[in-house]
């Protein structure tokens, strides 16, 4: 396998854009990525699109508007990990030598999707738990309650990521929300599922993100914008099995297995990471992820929360961008967006949310996390990126 490098990144502002489709947002992000890479769109040899809602072949619809066509293009729906999946497929193509340079874009307009399907919580018919009324906040309420039962978490502990990430997003011009929130505001907001309130949930969002990966030779020849060299040190896509979904929602087995594979592939210890961008659709979810992803020892996540270990200026910043909680969560876009955030940090282009001295970062998304045995699958995508001198 060959090393794979990042030549360009692009991202729209995340928010609610009534006039834009998911394809429009994919086009906008891809244009930014191509300009950042400094190459012609005609140079793209393969392209992948991650999205969850709307018609088939939206990737082709987006890319053809850039003049990208007559190449292999695939559309990928892997829930919130669709974007990581697109990056992973592109990574494999380049690592295996099938092509020299390609594009992965993730995009979504939940505004447009809600116009057609109606806004609100939906039980998923194909999911056994969903048929019984289980929703995403419903599942993560179990996670929160298990943290309360087994880790002695308080509501202040469970709200830590929401407060932290909203603070971080003040410095991110692409975030949907740029205002801090207080514990009192979070707890005063409407209860969705005990103990989760609205302000412990990420918003519904529209947005796009795109990344251009290439071989080392291609990077050395075409890096006309003189970007720092960022290598994809690991790319792992992993799914749960029947037995892992049957386990305790307190500890995400698929997070543990995917993270361990990624650390092994990158040849690093989790302690070597300088920051992480992860799936924080619900505040308590981020707290529960610290242990399985080995950001702290097992049983100690609350101790680390109380030490503010994961603050922007803490020992190990998690979601310095503001995360899904305040940056927003256009489903298909988020998995590419976390990779763009990692590149921004490693290029030291993150402005007010720059992690000092960042050299190695992790980008993760988790998709489809309902509970019910045979018919509830969870998918996790992780990339580890590192700055190369």
């Amino acid at each position: 396998m060959r090393d794979v490098y990042v030549l360009g990144i692009g991202q729209t502002k995340f928010g609610s854009f009534d006039e834009l489709t998911g394809v429009d947002l994919g086009v906008m992000a891809s244009i930014d990525a191509i300009k950042d890479a400094g190459i012609s769109p005609k140079a793209i040899e393969v392209a992948y699109a991650g999205y969850c809602r709307g018609p088939s072949t939206q990737g082709q619809m987006a890319f053809i508007r850039l003049g990208i066509g007559s190449i292999p293009i695939a559309n990928l729906n892997n829930a919130c990990a669709s974007g990581n999946t697109a990056v992973h497929m592109l990574y494999k193509d380049i690592a295996a030598g099938f092509c020299e340079v390609g594009l992965a874009a993730g995009f979504e307009s939940l505004t447009q999707a809600n116009k057609q399907a109606g806004k609100g919580l939906l039980a998923i018919k194909e999911d056994f738990g969903g048929m019984l009324g289980l929703t995403m906040p419903g599942f993560f309420s179990f996670v929160c309650k298990r943290l309360i039962d087994e880790r002695d978490a308080t509501m202040e502990d469970l709200c830590y990521p929401a407060i932290k990430n909203h603070h971080n997003a003040q410095f991110n011009p692409l975030a949907q929300y740029n205002k801090p929130v207080s514990y009192e505001q979070i707890m005063a907001s409407r209860v969705i599922v005990d103990p989760i309130t609205v302000l412990q949930c990420c918003p519904q969002s529209d947005g796009g993100a795109a990344i251009i990966l290439c071989s080392e030779d291609y990077f050395n020849k075409h890096n006309v914008n003189h970007h720092p060299k960022v290598r994809v040190a690991a790319s792992v896509l992993h799914s749960s099995g029947w037995l892992t979904t049957q386990k305790d929602p307190l500890f995400s087995q698929v997070n543990r297995e995917t993270a361990d594979k990624a650390y092994h592939m990158a040849g690093i210890d989790p302690k070597d990471l300088d920051f992480a961008e992860i799936h924080d659709a619900f505040s308590g979810e981020e707290v529960a992820a610290y242990e399985p992803m080995r950001f702290c020892p097992e049983g100690e996540c609350i101790k680390y929360v109380r030490e503010k270990y994961f603050d922007l200026n803490g020992q190990f910043p998690v979601n310095p961008s503001g995360g899904l909680l305040s940056l927003g969560h256009p489903l298909g876009a988020s998995g590419v967006r976390v990779n763009c955030e990692a590149v921004r940090q490693l290029r030291h282009q993150a402005g007010g949310y720059q992690v000092a001295g960042a050299r190695t970062g992790l980008a993760q998304m988790l998709g489809s996390v309902l509970f019910g045995g045979t018919e509830s699958a969870v998918v996790c995508g992780i990339q580890i990126l590192e700055k190369v001198d």
Binding site: G120, L121, L122, A123, F128, G129, M131, L132, G133, L134, T135, P137, G138, S141, F142, K145, R146, D149, R190, V191, I192, V193, D194, P195, G241, W242, L243, Q246, K247, D248, P249, F371, G372, G373, T374, E375
Partner: protein, 141 residues
């Protein structure tokens, strides 16, 4: 009377005139699983047979949804429960508003209509209402 269907085929069976939850027992590794897999999730064997499960469950965690999730009106409570060793599943808990469900609580399995669904019947060229029958839990008396 409306037509009826089970919420999922193969998970509810009739034992001596009484409905019971039904799992699958692997004849190779002797482990049970629920809801019904095609192959044993532990060893991959296809030598599975139906087995009736216990009528009592133990709560791992429960929470109450406070917003509408069609076709369910709020509030409603869901719990992850252990039916027997190695079988953990999810279900609705029917209870008084004042009753709090906690880890370790023992619940009894009941059966009945969970919700109605309207489907278009091609044979009669008209919509019909179907009662969806499933299981739920009640606090053990």
């Amino acid at each position: 009377m409306n037509n009826q269907r089970y919420i999922q085929e193969g998970i509810i069976g009739d034992k001596d005139g009484t409905l019971r939850l039904m799992g699958r027992l692997c004849r190779d590794c002797e482990k049970k699983s629920f809801p019904s897999p095609v192959f044993c999730p532990y060893c991959g064997s296809d030598k599975l047979e139906n087995v009736f499960l216990k009528n009592e469950v133990t709560v791992l965690v429960a929470s109450t949804t406070r917003v509408a999730v069609p076709p369910f009106d709020p509030p409603f409570t869901l719990a992850i429960v252990d039916i027997e060793d190695d079988i953990r599943t999810i279900g609705r808990v029917e209870k008084d508003a004042d009753t709090e469900i906690r880890k370790g609580d023992r619940l009894t399995v009941k059966f009945g209509k969970l919700f109605e669904e309207t489907v278009f019947n091609k044979k009669i060229k008209s919509s019909e209402t179907i009662d969806v029958i499933g299981y739920y839990f009640v606090p053990k008396s």
